[in-house]
Symmetry: C2
Subunit: 179 residues, 2 copies
């Protein structure tokens, strides 16, 4: 389907409640476990999403509107959550994510973007020229790639427990695709 | 992690709220679209989950407790939702799933299963001998494989819209693993 701001907003606005329902007060055995060395737990993912709300999506949208292709986006720190989540409970992180997401969607709506704005171009430090429309669609798809990751990481904890049923559970064959 | 009934119940009890938060009142462009021929939309998946609540998990748990390995499970109809969801809105399906899941968890808790019950064996018509513990772990992992599928199917709708960012979105490289 073509990208529309309405579809993107509909998805982005639901993610905090989805993650609260899935992870809130769930035993640690589901939420702080990962898929092995150098992989992320659901707890790590929420920290990563928080860092994105602070430094990625809205700052990059502003950069496009203010500077176009002339000034590339600042690089994103994929490991910021290792510092920033320290000492915080998952509940606190989920609350923080929900608050930041709500603020950012208020900001996005206030930008009152028109089709010609969505076509404006910026410069990604590695990917090159991108449009504001692509940035906003990626914000939504990024929520989904991490929901995909969280569900896979949680399923991994039951990899042995399901016995022969693993043959029928596609998620058990998902290698993660680098995420 | 080893299978525990508490961990399984914690997960199973959250899935209806997770799916309501993710899909409730979302535009049809996200919920009735799929990944191509012979693939399922989120709407299709909810119908499949409903059929599982009716015919799979609790009936099979009862079969193990009542008949052990002597009487195999009835085969599961993976396409029942094509008939059973007809004419129903997604909202109605989500409500139906939530109601059935709550009833089934009440039933499961009332079974008051002990470790020796969880070790009891039954017979799957294709997979052979399985335990009650494996059946219950699979019920939880089955929720996760379909959350994994729903997030992938939704991301697929923005495959073109994200432009060059597709390189950074693992979900876009997930082939589905048959589910």
């Amino acid at each position: 389907m073509p990208h529309t701001l309405d579809h993107t907003l509909a998805l982005l606005s639901r993610t905090p409640a989805t993650l609260n329902a899935l992870l809130g007060d769930l035993p640690d055995a589901w939420t702080v476990t990962n898929e092995g060395e150098n992989t992320w737990s659901p707890y790590d993912v929420i920290g990563h999403l928080i860092h994105g709300e602070r430094t990625d999506w809205i700052p990059r949208a502003r950069r496009i509107l203010e500077s176009g292709e002339s000034r590339p986006f600042d690089p994103f720190d994929r490991f910021a959550q290792e510092r920033e989540s320290q000492g915080k409970t998952l509940t606190k992180l989920l609350d923080e994510f929900g608050r930041l997401r709500a603020e950012n969607l208020t900001t996005l709506r206030a930008m009152n973007l028109k089709p010609e704005d969505l076509a404006r171009r910026g410069r990604h430090p590695a990917l090159g020229v991108v449009t504001l429309s692509e940035l906003l669609a990626t914000w939504a798809a990024h929520d989904l790639t991490h929901l995909h990751q969280i569900s896979r990481t949680m399923a991994h904890q039951y990899r042995e427990s399901v016995g022969p049923w693993t043959a029928y559970l596609g998620v058990m064959r998902c290698s993660g695709h680098g995420q």
